[in-house]
């Protein structure tokens, strides 16, 4: 196999526009992690099986390892870094951090981004709706209960009910 050729691309990530020259076979995950140092987005499986690499593309939760960077042009991409920081936590980040819903932390960014997509379209999910919406992201540490609870708690906060 020949080494891939380079492409000039433009990506809009967390509201910022980036002009990049990248190999054509690079995924969005490769660009985030290795060109833009946005290493909050993880990878655990390489092929869309685990969900650790989940980001939002036009508000839909997608696997960044399964989208070529060239395909992500002209889309609004949001990563965990764009959701909030330690000074200004998103309610999901806060409930995950405080309730030990993030054990090793590897699936956490993907889990939170997938939960964000859910809460943006359904601010009042039931437990089974949370489980269905997060079923594309796997966790090896928690047994999931604390994650479901963190999402339900964040939904309450976002509705102004606490």
């Amino acid at each position: 196999m020949e080494s891939p050729e380079f492409h000039e691309i433009t990506l809009k990530i967390n509201g910022r526009v980036h002009q990049l020259s990248i190999p054509s076979n690079w995924t969005l995950n490769d660009v985030l992690r290795n060109r833009l140092d946005l290493t909050g987005t993880k990878r655990a499986c390489d092929y869309g099986g685990c969900g650790s690499c989940t980001v939002l593309m036009n508000d839909v939760d997608v696997y960044s390892c399964s989208i070529l960077a060239v395909e992500a042009q002209k889309k609004e991409i949001q990563t965990i870094e764009g959701l909030g920081d330690s000074e200004n936590l998103h309610p999901l980040q806060k409930t995950f951090a405080l309730s030990y819903a993030a054990q090793c932390g590897w699936c956490t960014p993907g889990m939170i981004m997938s939960a964000k997509a859910l809460l943006d379209r359904n601010p009042r999910p039931t437990e089974s709706e949370v489980r269905a919406a997060l079923s594309g992201v796997l966790c090896r540490c928690t047994g999931y209960s604390s994650i479901v609870q963190a999402v339900l708690d964040a939904a309450c906060v976002m509705r102004g009910e606490t």
Partner: protein
Amino acid sequence: MRQELFTVGKPVPPIYGIEKATGTLRFPADVNLPNMLWMKILRSPHAHAKILDVDAAAAQKLPGVVAILTHNDVPRVLFGPYQNEIYPLDEEVRFVGDTVAAVAAEDWNVAEEAVRAIRVTYHVLPAIHDAESGAKPDAPDAVLNYPEAHEIQAGDIRPEQLGTVGNIIGLREGGPTVVNERGDVERGLEQSDVVVERIFRQSEVNAVSHEPRACVALYENGKCTLWCSVQDPYRLQDSVARVLNLPMDAVRVVATNLGGAFGVKVTGRFAILCALLARQTGKPVKIWFTREEESLDSHNRSALTHYVKAGANKDGSLTAIKVRTFLDNGYWPYGGLGQNIAFAICTRPIDLYHRCPNVKWEVFAVRTNRPSTGPYRGRADAESHFPIESVMDELAHSIQMDPIEFRLKNRIHEGDDLCSAPKKVVSTVWVEEAARKGAETIGWERRASLSTSSQGARKKGMGMAMVIHSCGSNPAGTSQAEVTIDSEGRISLFSGTADQGSEQQTTLRQMVAEVLGVRLEEVGGCNADTLTCPFDSGPFSSRTVYATGIAASRAAEEAKRKLLEGASLLLDEEDGNLDIGINFVWARSDSSKRVRLGELARLAGGSISGKGIYNGKNDQLFAYGFAAAFAEVEVDVETGEVKILRLVSSHDVGRAINPMIVEGQILGGAAQGLGYALSEGFYFDPRTGTALNQWFLDLHTPSILDTPNIEPVIVELGEPTHPFGAKGCSEISYVGVAPAIANAIYHATGARVTELPMTPDVVLKALQDARRSIV
């Protein structure tokens, strides 16, 4: 110790929580350095072969390739936890996926292309694909070149690890690796009122840590720094120093946070080769495993076969346990420690059923041409409890006794001597309390009438299992800790343990804050950086909260003593009249007499520090963790599907330093145990040794839809050998789930499932066997 506790026992938020939830925490895979090269590994397509020739000329010429290492280019130095791993690269390859060569290139595309361009000529050798075949006297050798075959410097290796007869690890001619024997097992069986005989088979399983292993190595000015996904940074430091022939202080390993580890992220070839390439190229080098590599180049739980025969009398006394176990060790058990796991398998369940007078348990730990096996969560006890707890259930059923009462009648008691820890006695045993509280939680009294609520093909049942597992009292390890107070009054804990997700630093800092009498927010520190933190054997065997906890408490005690001594002189008060609180040492009688902690540090020359060490080698008391698992299931007898209605995991934790973390560990362990029970197996082609399901989804770890809301139960009755009464509990909840579910299926259907994982086809076969035995 004060009666009233301020921080210990509180569910304080984990210290790394915010960094994890904002994605700002840097794992080894997240380290990127300027001018960094990417490393890729060429892996063996054969289960067993000798490399005759490696032709890397074409690969070397590719633009962007900087260096290639083959077995001809690396120092022939042993490495690994006990210096008993053979060379960083060897001419013998021992499993499909073994390391053949390593490439460093300017990007990973080029590195991959170069790996494909390397031409290797192999002489294929006979291979061993399962333990029982490998144990036969005429079996070919699974591994030809192993450290015992070489001259080893005295002191490099512990004598009990030496010696192998054929593929069986151990010293006995043709015999088992380990045998645990007492009484007369044959007579015991003959004289039993009832005897149960079964064969159990368990598949190999992978830990499936979500972070694939990564290493970034930087070599500058004769010093090597590695950011690496390992639980044993000090052993990696030692191995890199040996292979690169550097003094220990020229090697620094940072392993502060890992994305899950579960016991298996240990010193390996990939990291040593990364360091060698960094030195050779003069540039930083990074390797980050693919999922396939993470599955293959790991340490799996062994595949096992157990031949079990056990007897009991009608009064509920256990009379005899006879087991012969074949353990597939893979090409190389972690650290060469095949004996250790074999020993734990045949002794711990016997300690749990201490009252059983007649025992013979033989374990054959056998080398095969499979990936390495090692200390995955619940090590040894997950392996042994499935057969033993299944047989206990059946014995209880045969004598029509309640399975809980039968177990409790034969259980271990405080002060009993231990065959799993010779010359030691068990300190506390809160297993009865765990079993009773768990039974109450699930509603054990409903069990008798549960079958009446079964509908059609869906049968309901309830089962339980009792468990013993290490809780940190492990004489093989050492933990050190240091607590410092600087001239600003800041308190720091330095500990060598990596946080692989169990947030031990939170728990350790809670203990330090409690000893010093300060608020948790005032305690900072760092962990698992060999440059700044004192030695720790690492977070294995649920040992951190116990072993490192004792070391950290001792360090804090020493620092406190120095603070009080300093304050006593300055304030002219007896030590006993002084107290520490919010940045000051105060005189109890007169609160205007006080001095800042920082001031005391300044007067002492800039810093006050206390050191603590724990190694339980000479302690006579040995602490064990105990648990009971309960499952309520619904079995579809037409499809073989098992639905978990309830899962209760009840634990003797001594004392929960942080109940939120303790519950989180119990839930996580039980969820992994659920995967081991129902869906997870790591399979290989029995003719070629090629992995069949090394990819993520094919390993079938439980998803959010497969995992019920597991119910944790915590029993806190203390443990006198720990300053706060704690026992480690991060693994034990894994162990009981599979046998509890198997016993619930038996209760629901009368079918005894003897194979893991209990996939629908396995359950259907058990149902057919049960029907046949009735006819």
